[in-house]
């Protein structure tokens, strides 16, 4: 776990301190962001993940300066940038629609930021050439932006935002307009750009898969709140709340009762009466009834007569090539899905309609806060 993130966190590039954003006033008031605080480390690929309307874009716009917080501070390397207009903030944005200037060539677009900063011509020229090389667009430098493809426009938008060497790069769902194959390519490209430039990236997306593959850390947002911040592993394996578990990947929710606790771990009793170990969210020590989650691939099928943690009837078997999903109806009436990887010649042991037991690994169960 935590393979890609240094265990000793560096200094923070951005610190969002108790920021709140309310649109409108009086009756028509809409709270876009409840009071949120989050720190984004230097050189990190940080993702704000959540469904539309969760406040992720609002938070990004507050960092960019297109909107100003109702309350709170946004610290960029220790300096509060919240009251500054966008043109005074050393952060740049890659827009969802790219927002390339149609009356300028590719090279002029990339050089725009440096030009506005009043850099000398020779420096701009060198830097634009460097950027064109970085995004592999040298051949199209003099094209109009309307004469290049969507994927190429995306690269130009990236180069334009990276050219002034911002302290933080903000990306607002930049891949959503691309088709699947191009999106996959750009995901890898973005990771490469981030590691080559060493710039802190803040990436907004509603695509959980995108977030898991690209990020060093993810903040999961819902209804104007940040629910959990962690590495992709943390978020996937140790979701703290129901929303997080549900939003990312497939999950089984089970009712259980806490019967014992020792340093961050609990023993919970399932509806079957079997007791299994489970992890607890940091700083959370519940008692009594709780909900636990178990990912479908962290459980295994066993014969019905085995000493299984749970047992039920196999209602459906869905073959998906790489693996098979077994949809079970547990004895207490709840649904449960087990995912098993397929291997040739392994044969499928469990037939539809038969009884089966479920084995739960010692580190598979996670207790939720809600």
């Amino acid at each position: 776990m935590g393979c890609c993130v240094p265990e000793t966190p560096g200094k923070n590039a951005i610190e969002v301190r108790e920021v709140r954003k309310v649109f409108g006033a009086g009756e028509a008031q809409v709270v876009a962001l409840e009071t949120v605080s989050v720190s984004i480390r230097e050189n990190e690929f940080f993702t704000l993940l959540g469904p539309s309307g969760c406040g992720k874009t609002t938070l990004l716009r507050l960092i960019a300066g297109f909107d100003f917080p109702t309350a709170g501070q946004i610290m960029l390397y220790g300096e509060d940038i919240a009251p500054l207009p966008p043109f005074k903030r050393p952060v740049n944005t890659v827009f969802q629609s790219y927002a390339l200037f149609p009356h300028m060539s590719v090279a002029q677009n990339i050089g725009f930021g440096l030009e506005m900063l009043g850099k000398p011509k020779s420096e701009i020229k060198a830097r634009v050439a460097e950027m064109l090389k970085l995004v592999r667009m040298e051949a199209l430098a003099n094209r109009r932006t309307s004469q290049i493809s969507g994927g190429q426009q995306q690269r130009v938008a990236l180069a334009r935002a990276l050219a002034p060497q911002p302290k933080v790069l903000l990306l607002d769902e930049p891949l959503s307009a691309l088709d699947y194959k191009l999106r996959k390519e750009m995901q890898i490209e973005l990771k490469r750009l981030q590691s080559e430039t060493g710039i802190t990236f803040i990436f907004v997306t509603h695509d959980q898969e995108e977030a898991l593959t690209m990020s060093d850390r993810i903040a999961v947002m819902s209804s104007g709140k940040i629910l959990q911040v962690g590495t992709p592993h943390d978020i996937y394996d140790r979701p703290a709340e129901r929303f997080v578990a549900d939003f990312i990947g497939e999950t089984n929710f089970l009712k259980a009762e806490v019967v014992g606790q020792t340093n961050g771990r609990a023993t919970v009793k399932l509806s079957s009466g079997v007791e299994i170990p489970a992890s607890l969210p940091a700083g959370f020590s519940p008692a009594g009834k709780v909900t636990i989650v178990i990912r479908p691939e962290h459980a295994h099928l066993a014969g019905a007569n085995d000493k299984a943690s749970l047992s039920g009837v196999v209602e459906n078997v869905v073959y998906l090539g790489t693996d098979t999903h077994f949809h079970l109806r547990l004895d207490d009436g709840d649904a449960f899905i087990v995912r098993q990887q397929n291997s040739r010649g392994g044969g499928d042991l469990v037939a539809q309609g038969s009884r089966a037991g479920i084995l739960i690994g010692s580190d598979a169960a996670q207790v939720l806060k809600d």
């Binding site: 960019a64 300066g65 966008p86 043109f87 927002a99 200037f101 506005m116 002034p164």
Partner: protein, 267 residues
């Protein structure tokens, strides 16, 4: 049935109505153009093709004088109106909607709603007072009056373009360290250029064409081409007027065509 039932062109009498409308619109103009090439002195006789009335109008110093005045006036009025209209369009689109914004639209477009003759009389009264107080009776009054009624014609295409224009362009410029002025100068203005040219040309044509307000506001010796033509018609109908009208028509068609192409190229 092969034809779609609700196709308006399938209705009985459609062709007839269309022809009638075309004739009503274009027959008088066609007649005017035809007569401008008539060699005869009188409108009632056809003496064969000739350019003599064009030559005669061209050499008439009063016509020259009025034509130059018309052009100078139109350039001034269209330029001022376009500047004001651009500022007004920016002020009414680059802002959050607020109560009273619709009222402002109406306010800017007032010349489209108030009958021209009312404005003309009002200006006559006000300007004659000012003339007495200041002693100034130059072209300024005409330029002001024309600018005022040209503003909505310049304003509408510019506002239309600004409303279509994605605000993220300006946001992107600000994000890339452009101050509000530089954003306007390097992003908004270039993107707005076709609409500004279109607005200018519309305003130009409208100013060139005006009779009512000009007639009321002008001082002695300030005839524009349209008021000169009106004055001539009051006395006797000279075929020169036909020739001038034909040139006017050609100029307007040219400007409208250019307007069309300038606007189309952008989309």
């Amino acid at each position: 049935m092969a034809r779609r039932t609700f196709d308006i062109r399938a209705q009985p009498g459609f062709g007839f109505m269309a022809l009638l409308t075309f004739f009503a619109l274009y027959l008088p103009i066609a007649a005017l153009v035809a007569y401008s090439f008539n060699a005869a002195e009188s409108l009632s006789r056809w003496d064969g093709l000739s350019l003599r009335w064009f030559a005669s109008a061209w050499n008439n110093s009063t016509v020259q004088d009025a034509a130059i005045r018309s052009l100078v006036l139109a350039v001034w009025a269209a330029t001022l109106a376009t500047i004001v209209a651009t500022m007004a369009a920016l002020a009414t689109t680059r802002t959050r909607p607020y109560p009273g914004l619709t009222f402002k639209y109406a306010f800017i477009n007032q010349p489209l709603m108030v009958p021209e003759i009312v404005t003309a009389v009002a200006l006559l009264i006000v300007f004659s007072r000012i003339k007495v107080w200041t002693g100034y009776s130059g072209m300024g009054y005409l330029i002001l009056a024309h600018t005022a009624f040209c503003i909505p014609f310049a304003y509408l295409p510019i506002r239309g373009r600004l409303e279509d224009m994605d605000l993220t362009m300006e946001r992107a410029a600000a994000d890339l360290y452009a101050t509000p002025w530089k954003t306007f100068r390097y992003v908004t203005l270039p993107l707005l250029r076709p609409a500004i040219i279109a607005g200018f040309m519309l305003a130009f044509v409208i100013s060139l064409d005006d009779v009512v307000i000009t007639e009321f506001v002008k001082s002695g010796g300030q005839d524009t081409l349209p008021t000169y033509m009106l004055g001539q018609l009051r006395r006797e109908t000279s075929p020169e007027i036909n020739a001038i009208a034909t040139v006017f028509l050609a100029l307007s068609v040219l400007l409208v065509t250019v307007f069309f192409f300038v606007n189309r190229r952008k989309t």
